[in-house]
C-alpha cells in the first residue's frame, strides 16, 4: 500500500543539522566508551583534567575578558577545583566495574546514560564545562557542551583542550564535543533529539524549564537567593570575614553567593562594623536607595551589573567608596517581593536585615526563599545546634552551610559536600535532583539478582569484569583491508599511564588547591 505524501517544506535554521550530526557522532562514541575498563577511564579522566588545570589561568583570564564579569583569580581557583580538584575528590571511586553484593546476591553493573547534553552558564563558564566533562568521562558518557553564547569562545577552547587530551589518552573520537555557535533553535534541536540521553542544564530558569519540557530525561537546577542567618552566639569576627569573602568571591556571580544577611539585633551593629573591617562598605539610607535604583532600575535587575566589582557599581550610583571595597552592604527593613534588594543579586551587593530574635530570622529566611531560590541553599552562623537544626528544618533548601561562606560551602569546596558546579534544587526547586550533581547522577545500574531462596547459591563473581579497553585509536583509522599490516607505521597513540610531567603537574596543582583554599579560609 502506498500513498503520495507531501511533506511541508521544513526550513531549519543554519546550525541545526550540524547539531544533529554532533549527536549522531556522540552516539557512536558513547557506545564505544561504554565498554572501557576502569584503568583506561581513569587515565582519560586524568588527562582531560590536567589539560584544563594546566591552562586554568589562561581560561580564567579569557572568561573574564569574554563575558566581562567575575574575578580572574577566583576563576582560576574554580577551574582547578572543577578539573583536577574533582578528580582528586573521587579518586579511588569506581563508576565502571561491577559491584558485588554477596549477602544480597546482587551484582550491579554500571550503565552510562550515553549522550549527555550539558548546558553551561556564562557566570561560571569554564569551571562548569570542565566539571560536566569530568563527570561524563568518569561515568563513560559522551558529552556535548552547549555553552552560554556570551562565553562560547573560551568554553570552546577549554572543551577542545580537554577533548584532545582525552582522545590522546585513548578516549573514543568525539567523546567530547562543543557547540561553537549556540542558538535557541539549535539548543532546542539538541534537547529534543531522541538520541540525547540526558540533559544537564545549568543556567537561567528558562533554559532549565525548557530542558524539562524537552521530553528527554533532564537534570536541571533552579536559581538561588541565599539567606544567611547570624545569631548572637556566632563568632562575629570570623563570621564577618567568611561572609564578606564569600560574597566577594568571583564578584558574586554564583548562585551560591549570599543574598541577604539576617542579623539578630543584639549583634547587628557589631557585625556591620566587622563587615567594614573586612572590606565591605555599609551604605547609608540614601546611598542604599541610589544603589537600589542603579542595580534594579524600574525594579528589574540590570544585567550590566552582573559580576562587576563593588567600586564600579558604587560609581555608577554616584557613590564614592574606598578603593579596596569588595562588597556593598545594603540594609533594608522589609523582605517582600516588591523590595528589589530581597531578590537574587548577581553582583557584590549584600542585603542586610535586622531581626529581634533568631526565631524571627527563620521567618525572614523563608520569606526570602518565597521570592526565589527554593530548594537551593542557605547559610547560618551560630554556635547553637538547636537553632541550626530548627533553621535547617524550616527553610525550604536542600543544603545549609554552617559557619562557612555559602559560595564555596554549598558547592562542597569548603565543606564535605560533593564538590559541584551544579546544585540540585530538588522538588522544591522543580528539579529531579536534590543533591549536588555528582558522577552517580549520570549512571544507571543493571542489577543482576539471584533467587532469594537460600538454596540457590550465587557463585563468586569476583574478578569477572565485562569491560576491556581497545588498544588502538577508537575508531580505528579505515585502512584498506589488504594494508592493515602497515598500521604500525602510523603514529601510535600515546598510552603510557601518566607521564612524569603530568604527575608532577598534578602534584603542583594539588598543592595549589590546598594553598588557595587555605588562603581563602584565613582571609
Amino acid at each position: 500500500m502506498s500513498e503520495m505524501t507531501y511533506e511541508p517544506l521544513m526550513v531549519e535554521p543554519a546550525g541545526v543539522p550540524r547539531g544533529r550530526a554532533m549527536v549522531e557522532r556522540a552516539d557512536w562514541a558513547a557506545r564505544a566508551y561504554a565498554k572501557y575498563d576502569v584503568a583506561t577511564v581513569n587515565r582519560i579522566v586524568d588527562a582531560a583534567a590536567s589539560a584544563l588545570a594546566a591552562r586554568a589561568q589562561e581560561f580564567a583570564r579569557d572568561a573574564v575578558a569574554e563575558t566581562g564579569f567575575g574575578v580572574v583569580e577566583h576563576k582560576v581557583l574554580k577551574n582547578i577545583a572543577c578539573s583536577t580538584g574533582i578528580v582528586e575528590t573521587y579518586r579511588g571511586q569506581d563508576f565502571v566495574s561491577p559491584e558485588i553484593d554477596d549477602i544480597n546476591k546482587i551484582v550491579a553493573i554500571p550503565r552510562p546514560a550515553g549522550v549527555v547534553l550539558a548546558l553551561t552558564p556564562s557566570t561560571n563558564p569554564v569551571a562548569t564545562v570542565s566539571f560536566k566533562i569530568i563527570l561524563a568521562l568518569m561515568t563513560r558518557n559522551a558529552v556535548i557542551i552547549s555553552p552560554h553564547p556570551m562565553a562560547k569562545k573560551v568554553c570552546a577552547a577549554a572543551a577542545k583542550a580537554m577533548a584532545e587530551a582525552a582522545v590522546a589518552a585513548g578516549a573514543p573520537d568525539g567523546i567530547i564535543q562543543i557547540v561553537e555557535d549556540p542558538s535557541i533553535p539549535l539548543i532546542n534541536a539538541l534537547m529534543t533529539d531522541e538520541r540525547t540521553d540526558v540533559i544537564v542544564a545549568t543556567g537561567g530558569s528558562p533554559v532549565v524549564r525548557s530542558a524539562y519540557r524537552s521530553g528527554n530525561p533532564a537534570i536541571g537546577v533552579g536559581p538561588g537567593n541565599v539567606p544567611v542567618l547570624v545569631d548572637a552566639t556566632a563568632d562575629i569576627q570570623k563570621t564577618a570575614a567568611r561572609i564578606i569573602e564569600s560574597k566577594a568571591f568571583d564578584n558574586s556571580i554564583l548562585c551560591t553567593n549570599e543574598s541577604v544577611v539576617i542579623a539578630e539585633d543584639a549583634i547587628a551593629d557589631k557585625l556591620l562594623s566587622a563587615f567594614a573591617r573586612e572590606g565591605a562598605y555599609v551604605l547609608k539610607d540614601e546611598e542604599r536607595d541610589a544603589i537600589r535604583s542603579t542595580v534594579f532600575p524600574d525594579g528589574h535587575f540590570n544585567i550590566k551589573m552582573v559580576g562587576k566589582d563593588a567600586v564600579w557599581i558604587a560609581e555608577q550610583a554616584g557613590i564614592k567608596v574606598p578603593a579596596k571595597t569588595r562588597v556593598l552592604v545594603a540594609p533594608f527593613d522589609l523582605v517582600v517581593p516588591e523590595e528589589p534588594l530581597a531578590h537574587e543579586k548577581l553582583c557584590p551587593v549584600l542585603g542586610f536585615v535586622r531581626v529581634p530574635t533568631a526565631e524571627r530570622g527563620i521567618d525572614v529566611a523563608r520569606a526570602i526563599l518565597r521570592i526565589t531560590g527554593a530548594g537551593h541553599s542557605a547559610a547560618i552562623h551560630s554556635a547553637n545546634p538547636e537553632l541550626i537544626m530548627k533553621f535547617s528544618a524550616a527553610v525550604p533548601v536542600l543544603r545549609v552551610s554552617v559557619n562557612v561562606g555559602n559560595s564555596l560551602g554549598a558547592s562542597g569546596i569548603q565543606t564535605n559536600l560533593p564538590p559541584t558546579m551544579t546544585i540540585g534544587t530538588g522538588f522544591a526547586g522543580r528539579s529531579s535532583v536534590g543533591e549536588n550533581l555528582q558522577p552517580k547522577h549520570l549512571l544507571n545500574y543493571t542489577r543482576l539478582a539471584y533467587n532469594a531462596d537460600a538454596r540457590e547459591v550465587m557463585p563468586s563473581f569476583a574478578g569477572l569484569n565485562p569491560w576491556s579497553s581497545p588498544t588502538g585509536p577508537v575508531p580505528a583509522y579505515p585502512l584498506a583491508s589488504n594494508d592493515r599490516a602497515n598500521a604500525h607505521t602510523l603514529a601510535p597513540i600515546h598510552r603510557e599511564p601518566i607521564s612524569q610531567d603530568v604527575a608532577e603537574l598534578r602534584d603542583e596543582i594539588r598543592k595549589l588547591i590546598v594553598e588557595e583554599l587555605h588562603a581563602l579560609i584565613k582571609n
Binding site: M10, A21, P475, P478
Partner: protein, 436 residues
C-alpha cells in the same frame, strides 16, 4: 438513483497509478525494459522501489529493505536526505537548470567549493549531467592536453556507457553496440605494474584512468603501492592520471576523496553519483591548470545543456558540505570499524564459504566460495531485508556499501540480517551440492 463506486487504484502516485504490483511489472516489460525487468524477477529480487527515506527503501509490497547498495553511492547520504531536499526545494524558488552558455551563479559556487576541498593542484571544474559524460569529458581533456589518443584502463574496468567511457570498460557493453575500439583503449590487468609499464612505454598514451577501487569488478583492492607506482609511471611516460572517484569519493573511504589516502594528486578527478545527493543529477570533472588548457583555448569545446544544472549544483554544494563535516568523517570511521568487526566474526563462523573481505572505509566487497556466490547472498539478503548487489563483472563478490550517516542501531540491524542471509545462502549452496 444508484451510484457507481469505482475502486480507487491501490497504488496512486498522483500523476499515475497502478492497480497492483503485477500490473506494474507487466507495464514495465511492455513499455520500458523487458530484459532488465525480467532479470530481477528471475533473480528472486522482484523489487520495485516505492517509499524511501534514510537508508530504507520499501518495495511496492511494503517490504522494507536496508539499502547497502546505495546505487553505487548515489544515496551515500541516505534517500531524500532532509538537508539536501531542503536545499534543492528552496533553490527551486529561484533557480532552474540554468543556461550553459553563460557564467552561472551556482556552477561557479560549486566549482569553488569543489576546488577548495579537492587534492591540491586541481584548479578547474567542468560539469557533466552524469558520470559517463564526466568520464568522456575527462578523456577528451586528457587527449587535448597531451595531444595523444590512447587511454589505458584496467581489464574489467567500468567507467560508464557513453561514447568514450564505454571503450575503457568490459567488452560486454561496448561490443553490444559495436563500440569497442581496442586500438585506442588498451586494457591491462589490475595490480600488474609490468603490464602497465608496457602499455605506457611507447609514450603514446594520453591518460591512465583508474577507479581508486574498481567497483563493478567487486572492489578488488589495489596492492599497497600499486596506484602510487602507476602515478609515477604516468609521470615517467607523459600520461595523465585520471582518478575515477565516482564510487570512492565523498568520504566513503573515510577521507573525502579516496585517492588522497594514497598521497596521489591526480591530473584529473571525476565525481558523480553521490555528488547529486541522490536528488538532482550532476557530475563533475576536476582538472589541474595544465590539464584543463582547452578551457582557455575554446571555452565552448564541450557543451552540455544539463551539465552542471544549477539545481544539481545546489544539491552538490549541500552534499559536499555534509560529507566534509568533521562529524561525518568521524561517523564513517566508526561505521567502517563496526562493520569490519562484525563481518570478521561472521567470517569465523563460515570460513569456507565467506572467504574474503575487501574493505576500505564503507566500501566493501564480500567474497564467497562459489562462482555465482554473491547472487545467492543477494537473494537471501533481499529476503531478510537488506538490499546489496552482486558485482556484475565478478559475481563471486557482493558489493556491500553502507551509508556514511548510518545510525548505530541500523548498522547493528543490518549486520544481524546479513549474518542470517550469509548462513542461509551457504545452506542453500550445500543442499544444491548434496542433491547434485
Amino acid at each position: 438513483m444508484t451510484q457507481e463506486h469505482v475502486a480507487a487504484p491501490e497504488f496512486d502516485y498522483g500523476l499515475f497509478s497502478y492497480d497492483s504490483k503485477e500490473q506494474m511489472l507487466d507495464k514495465s516489460k511492455e513499455f520500458w525494459n523487458p530484459g532488465k525487468t525480467q532479470f530481477w524477477i528471475d533473480s528472486g529480487v522482484p523489487l520495485v522501489i516505492d517509499r524511501r527515506e534514510e537508508y530504507f527503501i520499501y518495495d511496492m509490497s511494503g517490504k522494507r529493505l536496508i539499502d547497502a547498495h546505495l546505487n553505487g553511492g548515489t544515496y551515500n547520504l541516505g534517500h531524500r536526505n532532509p538537508e539536501v531536499v531542503q536545499a534543492v526545494t528552496m533553490a527551486m524558488q529561484h533557480f532552474d537548470i540554468g543556461n550553459h552558455h553563460f557564467p552561472s551563479l551556482a556552477r561557479t559556487a560549486l566549482a569553488e567549493a569543489l576546488i577548495k576541498t579537492a587534492p591540491t593542484g586541481l584548479s578547474k571544474v567542468i560539469y557533466g549531467s552524469g558520470g559517463g559524460e564526466a568520464i568522456d569529458i575527462a578523456l577528451k581533456t586528457a587527449r587535448h592536453a597531451t595531444q595523444k589518443r590512447k587511454i589505458v584502463s584496467i581489464v574489467k574496468a567500468y567507467h560508464g556507457h557513453t561514447g568514450l567511457a564505454v571503450g575503457t570498460g568490459d567488452d560486454r557493453f561496448s561490443k553490444l553496440f559495436l563500440s569497442d575500439r581496442p586500438e585506442e583503449f588498451p586494457h591491462v590487468p589490475f595490480n600488474d605494474l609490468e603490464a602497465m609499464e608496457d602499455a605506457l612505454r611507447g609514450r603514446d598514451v594520453a591518460a591512465v584512468i583508474m577507479e581508486t577501487i574498481p567497483a563493478t569488478y567487486g572492489f578488488p583492492l589495489p596492492n599497497p603501492g600499486y596506484l602510487e607506482a602507476v602515478k609515477v609511471l604516468c609521470e615517467k611516460y607523459d600520461a595523465l592520471y585520471i582518478a575515477d572517484e565516482v564510487q570512492t569519493g565523498l568520504m566513503r573511504t573515510g577521507e573525502l576523496w579516496g585517492i588522497t589516502k594514497h598521497g596521489i594528486t591526480p591530473d584529473i578527478l571525476v565525481t558523480g553519483k553521490g555528488i547529486s545527493g541522490g536528488l538532482y543529477p550532476i557530475a563533475a570533472v576536476l582538472a589541474t591548470e595544465k590539464a584543463a588548457g582547452w578551457l582557455n583555448e575554446d571555452g565552448f569545446g564541450h557543451i552540455s545543456t544539463f551539465g552542471g544544472a544549477e539545481l544539481g549544483c545546489i544539491a552538490a554544494l549541500k552534499t559536499l558540505e555534509i560529507c566534509s563535516r568533521e562529524e561525518t568523517r568521524s561517523m564513517v570511521h566508526y561505521i567502517a570499524d563496526y562493520v569490519a568487526g562484525r563481518l570478521a566474526a561472521i567470517q569465523e563462523t563460515y570460513p569456507d564459504w565467506f572467504v574474503g573481505i575487501r574493505q576500505n572505509g564503507v566500501i566493501l566487497g564480500l567474497e564467497f566460495a562459489h562462482p555465482q556466490g554473491a547472487k545467492y547472498v543477494m537473494r537471501h539478503l533481499y529476503e531478510n531485508g537488506v538490499w546489496a548487489i552482486f558485482s556484475t563483472l565478478d559475481p563471486r563478490v557482493l558489493q556491500y556499501k553502507p551509508g556514511i550517516l548510518l545510525k548505530p542501531e541500523v548498522a547493528e540491524e543490518m549486520l544481524d540480517r546479513t549474518e542470517i542471509a550469509i548462513g542461509k545462502a551457504f545452506a542453500e549452496i550445500r543442499n544444491e551440492r548434496k542433491s547434485a
